[in-house]
Amino acid sequence: MAEYAPERTLDARGLRCPMPVVKTSQEIKNISVGGVLEVLATDPGSVADIQAWCKSTGNELLGMEKGEGIFKFWIRRVK
């Protein structure tokens, strides 16, 4: 399992559009610059959308991991 020492974890499972990105954007503001946010997601679209959000906002997607029906990924706040 990847170890990124997240400051906070966001549970984005089962959220309706566009809440996974909205919650990620809100939650990253609670992380110190350079800190890591862990996101839990289940459905295919939200994972892709959060990755696209990382690209457009300049935050760094550190890694992803697939578990039993759950996807985890880690985002470093860049600015």
């Binding site: 959220l15 559009c17 909205v22």
Partner: protein, 416 residues
């Protein structure tokens, strides 16, 4: 003050918009048509006033009060002071673009179009829905990294496919992704937008492919039409690459409106020969043609239908959802008024994406709450993702005790 706003709006104002501003005689027919005004009583929510605020600012001479003179008084110019900025923000952001005011306007003036252009201009001042704009940017970026996302996305969809196969006890149900097909289905984020359609397409034996993209287009909400086109163009490219005949959008109001009303203008020949529909229209056609069968009376109890403004008033889709609901419900009750006169739920225009707008939309939803209460419905069904979120939030806030469902969910649950 508001220099960027004025520069932007002057650059973007079109002849129709200029006419709207000039033609509006402030007769007041629109006043009680606006759910925001009905709920708040705030003048900034009167559609004609929204229009007039922008007009006043546009008539402001470039060199401020000094150049205003007596003509300025005559032409009702307005100087951008703090009060006016507050009103302008309220007028342009606290609007769902539902266009109910246009139905009541004797001149059919499109206040929502003015609001849309004004929103983009306000964003240039840093005064507006930053979250909606941020999501819009991500929707544009998605196409740039789609190759990197593809494999992981397909893996995830395979897991979903496995779950449905297990639930239904079938081994040949597939969720094709990125494959040549007759129909390209473009979902919104969430399994709830994929699972019912996977079942329906399987039952109808449709040749289909799930899009790598989602239908939502938040740049449209904030009036950034260039970015809205870029985000939608990824889907145009995908449709052409896969050689599809039909693009079907999920139950998503604003995206369906762009697909049906704007794509011809945005993309011209690029999309010629490709039929574009709401998935609700596609599923209604399956039922009419006998490609799918449903269990009559599968939903036994009072059920009502909320016409999303973007599918109903703005795209003319009224009968297909009702056909589907009547096929599975024992007690369908219309909201009053309905169809083109239906009240907006208060959740459109990108407001769902803005956490700070929760109280505004809860208040603007009051006419909708009263409508629902009068029906005594147990289920409120609709065909727009934002409406679903708003209606569920309204139900919780006002204790309506209703379950909010999508039309295609009902059909998927009632398939035989």
């Amino acid at each position: 003050m508001l220099a960027k706003f004025l520069d932007t709006i002057r650059a973007r104002i079109t002849r129709p918009l200029q006419y709207y501003q000039d033609i509006c005689v402030r007769c007041g027919a629109c006043i009680d048509a606006c759910h925001f005004y009905v709920a708040s009583g705030s003048p900034a929510h009167i559609p004609a006033y929204r229009m007039m605020l922008v007009k006043k600012l546009l008539q402001q001479p470039n060199h401020g009060w000094k150049g205003r003179g007596i003509l300025g008084w005559y032409r009702e110019t307005g100087m951008a002071d703090e009060r006016m900025v507050t009103e302008l923000r309220q007028a342009l952001w606290e609007c769902t673009g539902c266009r109910r005011c246009s139905v009541f306007c004797p001149f059919d003036l499109d206040t929502a179009l003015m609001v849309n252009v004004g929103r983009y201009a306000l964003l240039q001042e840093g005064m507006g829905m930053e979250m909606a704009a941020e999501i819009g940017n991500a929707e544009v970026s998605k196409g740039e990294i789609i190759d990197a996302l593809r494999e992981f996305y397909v893996d995830q969809v395979r897991e979903l496919e496995g779950r449905i196969r297990e639930e239904w006890g079938v081994s040949d149900l597939r969720i094709p992704v990125d494959e040549p097909a007759r129909v390209l289905y473009v979902p919104v984020v969430g399994e709830h937008a994929i699972i019912p359609l996977a079942k329906i397409f399987y039952a109808a034996q449709e040749s289909w492919s799930l899009s790598l993209f989602t239908a939502t287009n938040h740049s449209f909400f904030v009036g950034d039409i260039e970015k809205a086109k870029q985000a939608a163009h990824w889907i145009v490219e995908e449709a052409r690459r896969l050689g599809v005949q039909v693009i079907a959008y999920a139950e998503c109001g604003h995206a369906t409106r762009t697909l049906l009303n704007f794509w011809d203008h945005w993309f011209g020949d690029e999309i010629s020969g490709i039929q574009r529909v709401s998935v609700v229209q596609l599923v209604a056609a399956y039922l009419k043609e006998g490609r799918i069968r449903v269990r009559e009376g599968a939903f036994d109890g009072p059920m009502t239908y909320h016409d999303p403004c973007n599918l109903g008033r703005n795209a003319g889709i009224y009968e297909e959802p009702r056909l589907l609901i009547r096929a599975v419900a024992t007690d369908f009750r219309e909201l009053t008024p309905n169809r083109e006169l239906n009240w907006c739920c208060g959740g459109g225009g990108g407001m769902i994406a803005e956490p700070g707008m929760l109280e505004v939309r809860m208040k603007a939803g009051q006419p909708k709450v009263e409508q629902i209460q009068r029906t005594g419905a147990r289920w409120v069904v609709t065909t727009c993702e934002n409406c679903k979120t708003q209606l569920a939030d309204l139900s919780e806030r006002y204790g309506l005790g209703v379950e909010v469902r999508g039309v295609v969910d009902l059909i998927a649950d009632a398939l035989v």
